[in-house]
Structures are given as C-alpha cells and as structure tokens.
Symmetry: C2
Subunit: 391 residues, 2 copies
C-alpha cells in the first residue's frame, strides 16, 4: 500500500533534474512553484504572502522559508538545509535576502521556474532579475513537462486515490434520495469516506496539500436542470424524483488525485434521459478505444466529435473530452481537437465526453485512465451503466 512517494523516487527526480541542469550549464536552480518544489523534495509549501522557495545545486536542496515554517519543514524533512528569514515584509525584503543567499553560492547561471515569487495574498516584491546580477534562464515548464508521464509510484498513488474516491461515491449514491439536500448528502458521504480512509491508511497518511477532507464526493450544483451546467457550483438544491444528477468524487493520496464522475437518475429513467445517457456512455467507450501510445490527444477528441456529429448531438457538447491528471486536478495535455501532442505510455488522463441539454439535464461520466504499453486501462472502477446508477 503506497501513500506517498519514496525517498528513492525523489532521489531519481533530483538526478533527472541534475542532468537537465548539466545540459544547460545551470549551476543552481531556484524554484517557487509548490508543484516543482514537491517534485524534488516531497515537500509541499503552501503559497501565502510569505515567499518560500527551494534552491538545488544538483546535489543538495535548501529550503528558503519564513521563520514560522522552519520547524514545520524540519519535521516534514525532505531538504538538506533550511534557511529561515524573519517575516514578510520584514526589514529587508525576503526576495532580497534570497538573492543574497544565491549570490553567496558564486552562481554563473541560475535556473528558475519563475522570475520571482508569485504567491498572492497581497504579496508584492521584486523579480529575481531585478535584484541579482547573474544570468538567469527561465524554465517554467521543465518539471510540468516531465510530470506528464507518470512513474510507477505516481500511478500507485493515483490508483489508491481512485479506491477512496470510489468509496466516497458509493456513500454518495447510497445517501441520495428525494427530499434530501445536496449538502446533506455530500457532506455525510465525504465525512464517512474520509473517516474510513484515515482509519484504513493509519496515522502515516499525510496529505501534502493539507486537505481537510481527504476523500470527498458531491454534486457541485449539478442537480436536476442544474446538471446541464458543466461547472455549476454548490447551491444546496433539494433532490427530487426524476432529477438527473452529475456527481464528482476525489481523494488526495500523497499529493496525487484522481477523478470519478457519474450521471445518476433519481427514479425510473425516462426515454429521453436514457437516450442521452447511452450516447454519453458510448462516447466514453469510443474515446477509450482511441487512446493508445503514439496517437495524438486530438485524435481522441476528434473521434468523440465525429460520433456526436453522426448522431446530431453536437449542439449538446460543451467541452473537450478530457485532460491529464495526477498531481494537479487538471494538467496538460488535453483531449482537444487542436491539441496535437502525443499520447505516451504512463500518462494518466480523464475521459469525460459530456452532453448538456439546457433546461433539461446534463450527462457526464468521468473516468481516470492510464495509458498502457499498447492501449489504456480505466483506474476508476465504479459502475457506468444506467441500471447501477439509478437511485
């Protein structure tokens, strides 16, 4: 049972980055993105108004954090050295202090993921190039691009996430009945799934991103007519007989997530509901068939597009067929007709060709799918058929 990346894996990540640095004659890397810092260390430093960054010289890692994070980072481990500055804004701006640290390393060429800290929450500060007299190369997508192809351990974490998303969804379906509100159903399902998840995984479970509910499931407002709005927001509607519901469930394991979404029908499905449901499921099958290493992301979306066109359903289609997923809930590349990037073994993607009929209902399943050596395999395993999804 894997609940976080191993030390060995993180060391492999650092070795890979060191090679890129060598190729580019970069002798020091400065990272600000929480994702990029996580990739090298397993540490997830939440972005606030207080700058935090990571230095990597190809061998050693140095976390540059505010004093209030020192003991936190010490306890979490993952870095060789911690340099703590007082506070933001403080007497000397933290980024100027960071520049001082970089200068003391006799750097000839600095690599950065962004030219300065980008934290938000009212943060203001200079870019590194404004306060440093050193050659800087920006590599904003170096780690993002590497992370597109998942490692065996990352896939294990995503599969573990699927397991708990599945449980949350099962509770969601079990608790769904006419007269209950969206919030009543979803909070109880999320609470119960999170409890079982934590009791099963034990005290070692740790969510780097700090989720208060490790597993959750809900409707995000996609209830009844609201189901026709792809990104509705929670509004606490009451479930009624005859409603179509579009769900979503996820769980956070070691920093990784998965996506499980289903269309459910409350009471006996009507002919019209059944028709759209079946087309949507078939579109998912068509997408699955099109996913194989060497094909393009656009091929998959095109297959779905052709299918919907053939069946006069194009007007009900609102978004492309899916996206990559893993550390982020949405990652590139996307199953979009105009995204010609190549599908590669080890990528993890969502398949979710939805149909949305304004004023009537929306229909969307989303599954998390691994690209295998020669085709693809669903990592989510919740039933997809209408009978199983009728409550």
């Amino acid at each position: 049972m894997r609940i976080k990346l191993s030390e060995e894996e993180l060391a492999t990540h650092r070795d890979g980055i060191k090679k890129v640095m060598d190729e580019k004659n970069i002798d020091l890397l400065c990272l600000f993105s929480p994702r990029d810092i996580f990739y090298l260390t397993g540490l997830y430093l939440i972005q606030t108004e207080r700058p935090a960054g990571l230095l990597f010289d190809g061998k050693y890692t140095t976390a540059f954090v505010p004093t209030l994070e020192r003991e936190h980072v010490e306890e979490l481990g993952g870095v060789d050295e911690i340099i703590a500055y007082g506070e933001y804004p403080g007497e000397t701006h933290p980024v100027e202090q960071l520049a001082g640290v970089i200068e003391s390393r006799n750097v000839e060429k600095l690599g950065v993921d962004s030219d300065g800290y980008t934290g938000g929450m009212g943060y203001q500060g200079p870019s590194l190039s404004e306060v440093l007299e050193v050659e800087i190369e920006e590599l904003p997508r170096m780690i993002e691009d590497i992370m597109q192809v998942k490692t065996a351990e990352e896939i294990e974490l995503i599969e573990e996430s699927c397991r708990w998303g599945n449980l949350a969804h099962r509770y969601l379906q079990d608790y769904t009945e006419p007269g209950k509100t969206e919030n009543d159903i979803s909070t109880q399902a999320s609470l119960d799934a999170s409890r079982v998840m934590l009791k099963t995984l034990g005290e070692e479970y740790y969510s780097p991103k700090g989720a208060s509910l490790p597993a959750s499931a809900g409707f995000r407002g996609q209830i009844g007519k609201g189901s026709a709005i792809p990104h509705a927001l929670t509004s606490n509607a009451t479930v009624k007989e005859g409603d179509v519901l579009v769900t979503g469930a996820l769980a956070n394991v070691g920093g990784y997530v998965s996506e499980l979404e289903r269309t459910m029908v409350v009471g006996r499905p009507t002919k019209k509901q059944t028709k759209f449901f079946k087309y949507m499921v078939e579109a998912g099958d068509i997408a699955m068939d099109a996913i194989k290493p060497g094909a393009k992301f656009s091929d998959v979306d095109q297959a779905v597009s052709d299918f919907y066109k053939e069946n006069d359903l194009e007007e009900y289609w609102r978004h492309h067929t899916g996206h990559s997923i893993g550390f982020g809930g949405h990652e590139a590349p996307y199953f979009d007709r105009f995204d010609d990037r190549e599908i590669k073994t080890g990528m993890v993607v969502t398949v979710e060709p939805g149909l949305y009929v304004p004023g009537f209902a929306g229909f969307r399943h989303s599954d998390t799918v691994l690209v295998t050596e020669d085709s693809s395999r669903m990592l989510t395993y919740y039933p997809r058929d209408l009978e199983s999804l009728t409550v």
Copy 2:
C-alpha cells in the same frame, strides 16, 4: 440578513472604477483576476486552463468565457453580455480571440490587471501585449487597494461569516475529547455547522467560490506538540489528556471570510500552559489597544514585540501579529513591524500574536477585528479565557 453584495453596491464599485479609468484615459478595462472580476460583477470565475476574463468600458460589462461556462454565467447573472469561445486550446487561441474582441472596440488605451491570463492547470498562452497593438496600462493592485477598506455591506458579510465560524468552533470544542482523532472531530463539527448554516440561510445561500463545506473548523495538525508548529497540516493525530490544541474556524458568506482561532487545553491546564496562554491573551489585548485609525500597521506589531521582549518571550514568537482579511483569507496590509501603511476606518484585520514553544506547545488566538471610527471592535465573539477553553 445579508448573504451577498447587493446590485446597488456592485454598481457603486463599477462607478468607482469608471472614475479611475477616466482619470487615466483608459477606455476599456480587461480583468483576469477572479477577485477583480467579482468586485465589478459579483461573479466568481474559477481559474482553470480555460481563460476567462471581463471587459468593462465604464458602463457595460462583458464576460469572455469558454462555451461550457456560458449557461453558468447566464444563470448567475451580473454581466451585461457574454462572449463565449469554443474551447482551450482550440483552433484559435482564446487570448487571440479576446484580442479580436478588444480590437473591435476601437480602444486607444487598455487597462489590465495583468498582461495576460494566469490560470495554471497547464495553461499556456501569449500576453495581451504580444497580440494587441494598443497602449496597455497594467493596474495589478487597483482593485486590491480599493478593497482594503471594507464597505458596510462587506462588513455585514464578514460578520455573518463570524457567526457561522463561531458555531463551527462551538461544535469543535463540544466534540473534542481524549481518544478521538483530529479528523473525526473536525469533520463532524464542519458538517454539523454547515448543515445548520444552510438550513438557516436557506436556498438563497450561495458561495461564489464554491466551498463544499460553507462552514468549517479544525486543528490543521496543531495538536499536542504539533501545536507549536504555526502552519502544521492535518495529520490526523489523536487527542490526548494534557494536549494543547490550536484551532481554526471559518465560513464563506457571499465570497467573504473571517478568521477565528483559539487555543484549547485538554484537561486541567499546567502552570506552564497557563503562563504562555495568559501572555498570549495579553498580547492580543495590547494589539487591540494599538489599533486605531491613523496609526500605522507597524505600530501594532511593535507594541506586541515590545511586550514579548519585556517578558523574555521573543524566542517563542514566529510571525507578525496579523493581516487584513475579507475577500481573501490573507490580505495586505499586515501587522508587521516593517509595514508602515496607515490603519483606516473600515479595514478588517486579524489579531493573532502567537507563542510557539518547540517540543512543548503553541498558543494562538486569532480574532477578526473591525477598525472603527476611533478604535476597533472584535467581530469574532468566541470566549478567549482559559477556563472557557479547557475541555
């Protein structure tokens, strides 16, 4: 009972921005920040890989969104016009399409909050200045600065948030007992408070940011020795007799939040626990006394610093005394010794001078405080004394 900003208030916001535009000879404004768009429209457009923005010509608002958001925005209202593009990445990049819309308006000078979309989730795209031949003035902090002083309606929303944070915290305290895990306590408290909140506020309640739990309370790992780590993360520790607990509760009302944090002791407090607790509470009182219009933010932090120095407690101090709050959980300015910005009537801030004793425990209350005409008033009203906080 106020649960969202009124149409009149939003119109006032737009009028204020129009004045700034007139002063700067800006004939069209293009906003990408969800906060900035919310300020003009009440709409909160979540940032994904699909660009979304708002155009404002001083009179009319136009939302530029992906097709899948069209019906969503139509339903939410708040804008005069919606222009929907197909999909990201799509055949023509959405930002190029947006540039086309801007060009069609015969703009001489464009104001922007950022020179391009900054969504993340794998998004890539050009800046506006790369695709537009028009004078552009960047105003990244125009709306952020205006929002530092809260309006009467904003204060009402923050007070309403305090009420529900208080309830979540009450449940949290009620459910806390030795042998229970962090997650068991906090998820039950959050669920119960959210349910009561939604049943009380009714179906009109709407969380623009889409929180799945409208009210929540928890410990974020600050349990026992973990309480000494200011920004610990949830780790599901078990509560034990003798533990010091540092809590946090919040609720989202109409896009606005508040902050309520308390230090609780499980079982009869020891002398050492009592000592640090009392100093921490006294530091909060000292900060409150220092908050008045016309003083500087740094004055407040300096007063706390002096008090901790006098009492040999400086080594246990890890972060400044507080921050502004409202639409964002952390906003500028900050109660920091080096933040000399002026305290103004109508600002809302947190007061939270914590003490952290490594290996022993941490002590922090945080209250949400309104700057009044001549001093300040706590909007949070949960008990602050040790007796009330002993469980």
